[in-house]
Amino acid sequence: MQDQPQPSPLRIGILSFAHLHAESYAHQLKALPGIDFIGVADDDAARGQHFARVYGVPFFDSYDALLAQRPDGVIVCSENARHRPLVEQAAAAGVHVMCEKPLATTLEDGRAMLRACEDAGVILMTAFPMRFSAPLLEIKTLLDQDGLGRVLAVNSVNQGQMPKRYRDWFVDRELAGGGSVFDHTVHLADVLRWYLQDEVVEVYAQTNRIMHRDEVEVETGGLLLLTFANGTFASIDCSWSRPMNYPTWGGLALQLIGQKGVVHVDAFSQNIEAYSNTDLPAWIPWLSDPDRAMVQEFASAIREHRQPRVTGYDGFKAMEVALAAYRSAALGQPVSLPLG
């Protein structure tokens, strides 16, 4: 029996390690078969060189230099407000893109990114790992089989620790786009659009800055109540309400009220509790890594010349919800979508 000819490996690079998720993606690129992690470009040369060394790949001193290697795809992990130029550069070079969430910080940037990739005929995928969470996928299957009947209401949470200790720019309004609302709303806004196969038509939000008030200038507490076109309503708690000694970074969970019953799903409950004489209690996760499946999907979409399961448009619509939340919080009243 003759072996199938091995396809040549996909060549993928990472543009910027500003976002800490780049470390996970780099790890996946190294671990997944059929992928050649061609290197790192970063406008912070020290940071880029550091991670290039960690992963044993070349460092490029400009984004153009990496793109000149004619990779099949790049993963963009710059600061949220700096996604646009890198995505546009990659599109201009004819290179497929997976962009870290939130897609951008303004509607204008988001639209420009969608247009650039469409015009260039390249994939724009948004890095929404929750689309690849095994528990969340289980519920998606249940919903698609009408196992819950019509979903009427959802109570969802994506709370976390205040992320300044990971990267300073996470709490910089200009670079991040905002605080906890911008950081956390997009994951659940996307999961809800995916689950309900419907669009958000109204957003109400209230925010505050009581937790970590002296450390950051952005909001740290946020509650949203979304309404979908068919009337389903869903709340999102996006607060940075996990104290620094919480046993893990945070979590994401939903409670769905359907006509046939109620289901609760927690994307991050698969943990071992660890106690010790010397350390604080901690959780040791044993979940299936959604990042692995997400990077694999980016590679598969490139190889199969198709759209990925989660697109730039999905990233745009999720960002729109977060932007609407700020408008609502300022008004004290709900705001209609789409935003003008």
Binding site: R150, L152, A153, L223, S235, P243, I257
Partner: protein, 329 residues
């Protein structure tokens, strides 16, 4: 102290049992149907009366456990007779009624104690104490959740009659509106979404966002959309210095797995039950007794109950109008 109980449904029965843990004497019952009052009177060695007016001359305290819309008139009647009042939550069906009750009791010099029993549940009390002790710093985000099945009284299910009960938002969520206000202070803005159409939802379900005067925000879920015998509660209180988390599923001390069918042993009305040596309903009635006999402080005032009522009615108004409703302090 002679106590008369009006209303012998789930709460009337619970209160009657609780009174037996105090030195007070239950002397009378009044019910919608006289034979129901007789049955209770027999059980507790008391008298059945045809109506409240007939019972009032014989009692020092009336414990009103009737459907919500009757609280107002019965309280005014009791006040006029100089009888102290204990009233189930919600205080009344409307804010105007609630105010009139407070005014009437004050004018008559009688007490008006409202049975916001969550203020006596140990998990809620401990969390409030922890907040007051500074354990979470300044409160920022509160999450309160109360999920039960739809009340299913065999006859005259007044809970499902919005005119009488105010529906799930007034009857159930008021517990958590009151608790949020207890923990984080006055509420200035309410936004609420509600499922109330029985042809669409298996039970009323609502989500509300409260904004407190001090800047804290609260997320409240109330539900009658769970199947029997569900009674689950959850809370989180996050602040500048820490976080408190409670989940009744996680803290349930007993898990039993029986080799039998899915017998539905739940009662008509969901009542929470985590094993305790003293039921919070008993703790509450004892506190009322001590307050009435010695003036010992209570954790909840009639004004608190009125404020919770205002929040609940604002939530109903928001759900109907689609707009956030502002509450003036």
């Amino acid at each position: 102290m002679k106590v008369g109980i009006v209303g012998v449904g789930a709460m009337g029965g619970t209160h009657a049992e609780a009174w037996t843990h105090t030195p007070a004497q239950i002397v009378g019952f009044v019910a919608e149907k006289f034979e129901h009052a007789q049955a209770m009177a027999e059980k507790y060695g008391a008298q059945a009366y045809p109506d409240l007016a007939a019972m009032l001359p014989h009692i020092d305290v009336v414990d009103i456990c009737t459907p919500t819309h009757l609280h107002h008139e019965m309280t005014l009647q009791a006040a006029a007779a100089g009888v102290d009042v204990i009233c189930e939550k919600p205080l009344a069906r409307t804010v105007e009624q609630g105010r009139a009750m407070i005014d009437a009791c004050r004018a008559a010099g009688v007490k008006l104690l409202v049975a916001h029993v969550v203020r006596f549940f140990p998990e809620y009390v401990r969390a409030k104490q922890a907040v007051d002790a500074g354990q979470v710093g300044q409160v920022a985000v509160i999450r309160l959740q109360r999920d039960v099945f739809r009340p299913r009284k065999a006859e005259d299910n007044w809970f499902l009659d919005f005119e009488r009960s105010g529906g799930m938002i007034l009857d159930l969520m008021i517990h958590d509106f009151d608790y949020a206000r207890w923990v984080a202070g006055d509420v200035t803005r309410v936004f609420c979404k509600h499922l109330g159409d029985p042809s669409v939802s298996p039970g009323d379900h609502a989500l509300a966002i409260l904004t407190h005067a001090n800047g804290a925000i609260s997320h409240i879920e109330g539900s009658w959309a769970y199947p029997p015998p569900t009674f689950r509660t959850q809370f989180e209180i996050a602040g500048s210095g820490g976080l408190l988390v409670h989940n009744s599923d996680a803290s349930a001390p007993i898990a039993a797995y029986w080799h039998k069918g899915d017998d539905d042993t739940a009662g008509e009305v969901p009542v929470p039950a985590s094993p305790l040596l003293e039921s919070p309903y008993v703790t509450q009635i004892k506190a009322f007794y001590h307050h009435l006999t010695t003036g010992a402080p209570l954790p909840v005032t009639a004004e608190d109950a009125l404020a919770a009522l205002e929040i609940a009615l604002a939530a109903i108004q928001s759900a109907e109008s689609g707009m956030a409703v502002t509450i003036r302090g």
